[in-house]
């Protein structure tokens, strides 16, 4: 029982106390806004929202766009402009935004 409670608390921890957003992460994430919506909350069905997506999902998809394994209309070009570290910062930022 105690173990379960601890596990639950640990799982909830990232939500309860989100890490601080650095200006770098915030600024990088802002470059997505014109298409994906403010703070990643899309206002159209034509473009996917990013807010609240799992961090690892965003990272893997951005890498897939970048190396061409996921076909895209424009994201394969845009993704090439970001380093692994920048992608991780953006993914981290969006994963902690409310949908």
């Amino acid at each position: 029982m105690n173990k379960l409670l601890i596990a639950a608390a640990l799982a909830a921890a990232p939500l309860a106390a989100p890490a601080q957003d650095t200006p770098a992460a915030r600024s990088l994430a802002a470059t997505c806004a014109a298409c994906h919506g403010t703070d990643g909350r899309s206002v159209t069905n034509d473009v996917a929202g990013l807010a609240g997506l799992p961090r690892e999902h965003i990272v893997s998809q951005m890498r897939a766009f970048r190396d061409g394994t996921r076909p895209a209309t424009v994201m394969h070009q845009i993704a090439k402009g970001y380093s692994d570290q920048q992608i991780e910062l953006m993914a981290d930022y969006f994963s902690r935004r409310p949908r």
Binding site: A30, A33, A34, C35, T38, D46, T73, V74, Q77, I78
Partner: protein, 192 residues
């Protein structure tokens, strides 16, 4: 406070949509000001984010048009799946964030004095300036364009609004474009 400063502000802060009558004197609390020229994707997003991140900054967005028409997704208008109204937006959403949207055309920038000049002697002083004027068409740069002019649509806008002529000239700008619609995509849809 510099005199010219409040001249502009009277125009901007009253959310006036033109510069006519902007010389009404008035007092205001000085705030650092960011002026953004051009309210397309880049300029409008920059203006919104600056206002959102720091409400203490007075953001003025200068745009000569009264509404924004999205180029991405415009191929769906050509195909008849969307209307022009679907891809047209006003600027009221930005005003909710405290952005002063100024309907006017910037004519010159004095970087030394940090001011933007408009018609009728109007000026707008800035602390930081963002230029996001978008693209322009340079048809003279296209070989053979002049000779073919009778048979082509002059602008992208004309193509979106309706194909009223028989010939569509598409200039390929090269690979590596980062935004839709690509030129080849447009040609494909238009001939479609």
């Amino acid at each position: 406070m510099r005199r010219r400063d409040f001249l502009k502000l009277a125009g901007a802060a009253a959310s006036a949509t033109t510069f006519a009558g902007c010389a009404t004197p008035g007092s205001f609390k000085a705030r650092p000001r960011v002026v953004v020229i051009g309210a397309g994707f880049g300029g409008a997003t920059a203006a919104k984010y600056v206002a959102m991140w720091d409400p203490g900054i007075h953001v003025v967005l200068v745009e000569r048009g009264s509404e924004f028409v999205s180029c991405p997704i415009s191929n769906l208008v050509l195909g008849g799946n969307r209307t022009m109204a679907d891809i047209t937006r006003g600027y009221d959403g930005l005003r909710k964030y405290g952005v002063d949207v100024l309907n006017g055309e910037a004519l010159a920038i004095d970087a030394e004095k940090k001011l933007v000049r408009f018609g009728r002697g109007s000026e707008l002083v800035y602390d930081r300036l963002v230029l996001s004027p978008g693209v322009d068409f340079l048809p003279a740069e296209i070989e053979g364009y002049e000779a073919a002019q009778e048979r082509v649509d002059e602008t992208l806008a004309a193509r979106v609004l309706g194909l009223h002529r028989n010939t569509l000239l598409v200039k390929l700008l090269g690979w590596g474009i980062r935004r839709p619609p690509g030129e080849d995509e447009r040609a494909g849809v238009a001939s479609g």
